[in-house]
Each structure stands twice: as C-alpha cells, then as structure tokens.
C-alpha cells in the first residue's frame, strides 16, 4: 500500500438498475444480475451523490441496465447538477420520452450518450432481440431538438462490424457530433458470447480503414472514436485509469466498485453504500486498496518499464482468463499466459467459419437465473 493518500475520485457512475428492455448479447453486466439485491431507493442514491461530490468528484454518470426504467432519474440529475456535477446520461433511448426529456433538461442534465446497436432495422432488432430501431432514431431527433449534442455509441462485434460504413453514414444522417465505435469488451454477457462476437483481424482492419476514410471526409463535422478490442492488441489497457484512482461505480443494489465489472471478482467484500460512507470506502476499504498503485504487481509487470502505463491491465480480464485477479492481464504479450488469448482467437475463428456452433445467448432475467454464473 502507498503511504501517500490516494487521489480523490473524479467520477461517480451510478448503475441505477440492471433492468433493461434490450437483450444485448454483448452486455458487460454480470450474467447473474437477476440475483442482485433490491435497488437503492431515491433517498439512498441522493446520499451517495452528495457524499461523492463532497469528496471532489465532478463527473456523474447514470447508466444501467436502462436507467430510464426508473422514474426518479430527474430527481437524481437535479440534485447532482445543483451540487456542481457535470451530469451524463448513458441510455439506449428507450423510455426517454418527450416529457421526460424536457424534465431532464429542466433539471440541468448536461449530456446524453445514446447507444445504437446497428444501422439497419434488421440487424439492430436481431442483436437486441427487440423491435426498437425506429424508436431510437426518433429519440435522437428529440435530444437534438432540446439542444443536446448528438453523441452516439455503437458497440462493434462480428455481427455488425462489416456494417461500419453504414453505421457511420447513419450517424452522419442523424447529425451526430460524436460517434464512438467501441469494440466489445468481453465481460459479463459479452464474455459468455465471446466466440460468437469476436471479429477477425481482417474485419477489424477493414473497419478501421473505413473509419479513417470517413474521418478524412468529415473533418470537424463529426468526431469518430474507434476503440480497439483488447484481445487483438499486444498491450493491455490501463483499466479505469488505475484501480481506485479516479473512478467509483455503484451497482443497482448498492455495492461500491472500482470498476463497473469488478463485482464478479472472488474473494472481495465490496462495501455496501447503505452501510458505509463513500469516503471510508474509497480511502480505507481493503477492496479499493488491494490493486491500487503498482506495488502489488506480480512479475513480469513488477520489473516492466511500462508498468506505470497500464498497471498490469484489467483485473477482471485477468481473472476471467487465468482464474487469478492478481495476475498480469494475459492480453499483454509479455504475460506467460498470453497463449490463452491465442486460444480464444482460434476458437472464435472456428465459430466464424461455421466449423463450431456457438448460439448467441441473449441477456434476460430468465437466462440469468438459469445460468447462475457471474460471466
């Protein structure tokens, strides 16, 4: 552990519910979300918001599940905004009706990020297992009319990556200022469906090339972020910009986490915001201190000159792949277990070629209860 007091959190992410009208197979929520306890009440969320702001957090994100399934989002936004938070709503747009959007605007909501799943009705409705395509287009027009910049996020995977050209075109038609093309992170349901979701290296290369062409054509009109998938890189990402450095996430049932997928990690007692205040959770809990900084790192990270750059990568990925949350992220080619990544890539290639069958498992509460596993 460091002798130095850790920095205060800058980000509070409120995952207000696991309920969701969509059933996306790439969702990072835990597979066993249906076993989570009761959701925090409005009063409990307000207390969390006030505590985080008092600690110096300046960004407040609301996501889920689909946050708009709760009827108190306007109340949470109003309080966060009034305290000086920059308020971000991360939504599929389902439930973001005209009256609610007007109320959110009045409450001071600063920013909306809309998720899209694909550019065609067929593909959107297939991967979400819903009929929601036109609705999302309508919501985009509505947010624009309220003066919000249009910021679209689209998760890429094997079933839509060949539509990147059409996805970017759709974002242009919708007048988006920002488009994030984020390759699937294999957590939760995404990990369960990994082999079916993973694109080939060639598909990725093409998608990046097409993105580059659009960037050149669009200039400042629309900014496109392309988030490369971990598995096809040779260095891991500095997960959450460091464990317990800037980011604090709270689950629907009140667990405080240093990253939004950490609840799957075994051997942790993640603190409950109903029982402990955020400051003592952030500064004193074993869970937030265990992987803080770089002193805990194993070899080959410990003696690696890049350790400050990535802090050994993603703890959840290390655990899902190696069974040890304290291991080097196997995405790194210096990891002695990097072969696990090669195996995963080979398995996905078998599925893409049709030699191996892996049906997609959609995210829904019934399946969640049947599977009874975190990822």
């Amino acid at each position: 552990m460091n002798n130095q007091r850790p920095p205060h959190p800058l980000w509070l992410l409120a995952e207000v519910t696991y309920r969701c009208p969509l059933h996306c197979a790439f969702c990072y929520n835990p597979v066993d979300f249906a076993a989570a306890g009761p959701e925090l009440t409005t009063e409990e969320w307000l207390r969390v918001i006030r505590q985080a702001r008092a600690m110096g957090a300046a960004q407040f994100g609301i996501s889920g599940g689909e946050p708009m399934l709760r009827d108190d989002i306007e109340i949470l936004v109003a309080e966060a905004r009034q305290l000086g938070f920059y308020t971000n709503l991360i939504t599929s747009g389902i439930g973001l009706t005209a009256p609610r959007l007007a109320a959110l605007k009045a409450a001071g909501l600063d920013h909306i990020q809309l998720s899209f799943q694909d550019a065609s009705r067929e593909a959107n409705d297939l991967i979400t297992n819903t009929r929601t395509f036109e609705l999302k287009q309508e919501v985009t027009r509505l947010t624009k009319a309220h003066g919000y910049p249009t910021v679209i996020n689209c998760v890429l995977h094997a079933a839509n990556i060949n539509h990147v050209d059409r996805i970017i075109e759709m974002a242009v038609e919708l007048g988006a200022e920002y488009l994030e093309l984020a390759n699937t992170q294999y957590h939760g349901w995404g990990f369960l469906n990994r082999s079916a979701l993973m694109p080939s290296a060639e598909q990725l290369r093409q998608a990046e090339a097409i993105t580059e062409q659009w960037r050149a054509r669009l200039g400042k009109r629309m900014k496109i972020f392309f988030v490369a998938p971990d598995y096809q890189e040779n260095r891991p990402k500095k997960c959450m910009n460091g464990w317990g450095e800037v980011f604090l996430s709270v689950t629907p049932d009140g667990l405080a986490l240093p990253c939004h997928t950490a609840r799957m990690l075994p051997g942790f007692a993640f603190p409950d915001v109903r029982k402990q205040d955020l400051a003592s959770i952030w500064y004193e809990s074993e869970a937030f201190n265990r992987f803080r900084g770089t002193a805990w790192l194993p070899e080959p990270c410990r003696s690696c000159d890049e350790k400050e750059k990535d802090h050994g990568g993603c703890r959840c990925q290390a655990f899902m792949l190696t069974g040890d949350a304290g291991a080097t992220d196997p995405v790194c080619e210096k990891s002695p277990q990097h072969g696990l990544i090669d195996n995963a890539l080979k398995l996905a290639a078998e599925v893409r070629s049709g030699r191996l069958d892996q049906p997609i498992i959609f995210r829904d509460p019934k399946t969640s209860r049947q599977l009874k596993r975190p990822f």
């Binding site: 110096g56 960004q59 920059y86 971000n88 990020q113 910021v151």
Partner: protein, 99 residues
C-alpha cells in the same frame, strides 16, 4: 490553423463545456462529457470573464484593472485563439447578440 479574432466578438464558454470553480482542485475547471480540464490561474481569470456580454477589449481592461497591470492584450488574444480551437469558447458577434 487559427482564424483572426473578431474585433467586436464577445467570447462565451463553448456549448460542450461548463466553467466552474472546483474547491477540491483549488482551481477553475472546464467540465465536458466524461472529462475535466484543470485551468491555471491566468486561464481561469480570462475564462471567467467570457460571459458572452464583454468584448475582448473589455475582458483585457478588466483583467488589467483587477491585477493592476497593463499590456495583457496579446496574451489574452493568444489564449482565446487557442481556446476557440479547443472549443472552450465560441463567439457571439455584436450583431448576433443584439438580435
């Protein structure tokens, strides 16, 4: 590439940004979607005067009066040109703000 500053322009904080004092940082900051820019003292003092009402000349005059100094125009204009590039400020021309 920077465009010349409009002489009659009245700078205001850009649409994607919110400018405020952060006690935890002991600094003025610009907040934007999922991020924050911590400003040094001179940047903070310039931006807090960019209210869409004051012209650049008025911003400069107020800074010079407040800090009992002179000759700030060049520095302020250079900063505002950079700030516009980053989207931190936008410009309302006198004609637009009158309409």
């Amino acid at each position: 590439m920077t465009t010349p500053l409009p002489a009659e322009g009245r700078p205001r904080i850009g649409r994607l940004f919110r400018f405020q004092w952060e006690a935890a940082q002991q600094a003025y900051v610009l907040l934007y979607p999922e991020g924050m820019v911590k400003l040094n003292q001179s940047a903070g003092e310039i931006l807090r005067r960019c209210d869409g009402q004051c012209s650049v000349a008025e911003v400069v005059a107020d800074l010079e009066r407040t800090f009992a100094t002179s000759g700030l125009q060049g520095e302020v204009e250079a900063f505002l040109a950079m700030a516009e590039e980053k989207g931190w400020v936008s410009w309302d021309s006198a004609a637009e703000s009158a309409s």
